[in-house]
């Protein structure tokens, strides 16, 4: 079964440092997403990406966040200057289309900011 792959599985970083979370979506998918889940809380939408640009972003996705699809396979989330409250699981997801299509989620990257 095809899967979304995320690396690293766990990242520890110091406050103020930049981190890049990487995702390899399923190859024929066109829509890409980042979500985050703070421990014990809901899964929160961050951003959606289609046709090499952001299609929608949440209030959480402020100027310290950015996304890129630098090549045909990777999809990255960059956090420029991490804060303690950025500690969370970050999930990447992809889907082929919008109409009633399944979203496939990766296993997540656990980001710990110290």
């Amino acid at each position: 079964e095809p899967e979304v792959t995320q690396t690293p599985s766990h990242q520890v970083t110091q406050m103020g440092q930049e981190v890049i979370l990487r995702c390899v979506p399923i190859s024929n998918h066109l829509y890409f997403y980042w979500y985050r889940q703070i421990l014990g809380q809901k899964v929160e939408f961050l951003v959606s990406f289609y046709n090499n640009e952001i299609s929608e972003k949440s209030e959480i996705f402020d100027d310290q966040f950015s996304v890129e699809r630098p090549d045909g396979s990777n999809f990255t989330l960059k956090i420029r200057s991490t804060k303690l409250e950025d500690s969370a699981m970050y999930f990447c997801a992809s889907r082929t289309g919008l109409v009633n299509t399944e979203a496939f989620f990766g296993q997540g990257t656990r980001l710990t900011v110290v």
Binding site: V4, Y31, Y33, Y35, K42, V43, E44, F45, S48, S55, E56, M89, F91, A93, L98, V99, N100, E102, A103, F104, F105, G106, Q107, G108, R110
Partner: protein, 109 residues
């Protein structure tokens, strides 16, 4: 987006059938009903989707009454490994998934 309501938590024992109901009184004509499952420390995973009546796959069944104002996810003979959070969504042509708190199912031996 139409709102869904589901119980915050449910408990069950191994071998029992579990039914989780989701209310969606304002479901739109084009909306499909979709359920996802999330195990602890893992990404959500699609379980099942339906529009009306009954849908069954290898994991679960989804029952949707004629008025479509609610739906019931049925998990037959649950095991400990079915302990997870289950999310109900309405979707037709939606981009992002908006997660609620879901239903936390705890299965006991």
């Amino acid at each position: 987006l139409a709102k869904t309501t589901q119980p915050i938590s449910m408990d069950s024992y191994e071998g029992q059938e579990v039914n989780i109901t989701c209310s969606h009184n304002n479901i739109a004509t084009n909306d499909y009903i979709t359920w996802y499952q999330q195990f602890p420390s893992q990404g959500p995973r699609f379980i099942i989707q339906g529009y009306k009546t009954k849908v069954t796959n290898e994991v679960a069944s989804l029952f949707i009454p004629a008025d479509r104002k609610s739906s019931t996810l049925s998990l037959p003979r649950v095991s400990l490994s079915d302990t997870a959070v289950y999310y109900c969504f309405l979707s037709y042509n939606t981009d992002k998934l908006i997660f609620g708190t879901g239903t936390r199912l705890q299965v006991f031996p």
